[in-house]
């Protein structure tokens, strides 16, 4: 397995070498450095990995583990599927993307992503607009940014990601807990997830020059 599968980019200084269940059956995660940036990688036998449920889950779990280990260093998360045929190819890409990494780190430093999905109970008829307004009133002012995600089901009333200062996490948790008891959300199931590396708020793609 000579190819490198990339989970994300961190600024140098984080100690990131650990054993875990990684994408494509690998069991070790380590870093490839170029100047002030490190790509967090594992070995893989292809440059075009298939996005199976298992590997998508591993990608997320490795990123979570990296977040726990970076001790305050922000990670720029990569979407699933970024793989390079050698360290050299990867370093070339890091070199070319340095300005984008700098901007991304500035945007996400000290912040985490939290997700909120609201799903109607089966056959329930709810006032979607009122719910959206109630949620916006409760959460938008607590987040640095937020973004609406894919509505992949008719039962999804809301599928939103929030970029929240790590220091504000508890306040945000409390606001979501309060929302769950709100009368507007009586016939709605709530799925509150995270923290994640802030996928939804960085737009760095490094696959093109593979």
């Amino acid at each position: 397995m000579t190819n490198r599968y990339v989970y994300g980019i961190v600024e140098s200084g984080a100690d990131l070498e650990f054993e875990t269940d990684a994408v494509g059956g690998a069991n070790e995660v380590y870093t490839v450095s170029h100047r002030r940036y490190q790509a967090v990688v594992s070995d893989i036998d292809t440059t075009d990995p298939e996005e199976t449920d298992e590997d998508a889950k591993r990608h997320d779990e490795v990123l979570r583990e990296i977040m726990e280990r970076t001790n305050g260093h922000s990670i720029i998360p990569m979407q699933f599927g970024m793989a390079f045929e050698s360290n050299r190819a990867l370093k070339n890409v890091i070199r070319g993307a340095r300005p984008a990494f700098r901007r991304a780190i500035r945007d996400i430093e000290g912040r985490i992503e939290l997700g909120l999905k609201l799903v109607t109970e089966e056959d329930a008829d709810v006032d979607r607009e009122a719910i959206e307004e109630t949620v916006a009133d409760a959460l938008e002012s607590l987040a640095a940014q937020s973004v609406e995600n894919d509505h992949f089901s008719d039962r999804l009333v809301l599928n939103r990601s929030y970029l929240v200062e790590e220091d504000e996490r508890e306040t945000f948790d409390d606001a979501v807990a309060e929302l769950e008891d709100h009368p507007d959300l009586e016939d709605v199931m709530v799925q509150y997830t995270g923290p994640f590396a802030p996928y939804s708020f960085v737009d760095v793609k490094i696959g093109a020059q593979r």
Binding site: D53, F152, S153, L156, M189
Partner: protein
């Protein structure tokens, strides 16, 4: 006469080919199937679907997605033969 046939009927044949391709595209609605896969996962995580219901649906959807991917690949390659 054959030239005339070709001139008169060829455009309709092309339109039929296009309609057939669109119909195949809709029948094997990859995006819809992917959405259903995500919905199945979500309803399981929320406890509305049991593990056995979830796994059964997941397996069926994965098969349908694989077939749909193959059909779309064939459509893109232009290797699908339209028979009438």
């Amino acid at each position: 006469m054959f030239v005339l046939d070709d001139l008169l009927f060829r455009p309709f044949v092309n339109i039929l080919d296009a309609i057939h391709t669109i119909a195949l595209d809709e029948l094997y609605d990859l995006e819809g199937l992917e959405d259903e896969r995500k919905e199945n996962q979500l309803l399981y995580e929320l406890g509305e679907r049991s593990e056995s219901e979830y796994l059964e649906r997941k397996e069926a959807l994965e098969e349908e997605i694989e077939i749909a991917r193959e059909v779309h690949q064939e459509l893109r390659s232009g290797r699908v033969e339209v028979k009438r």
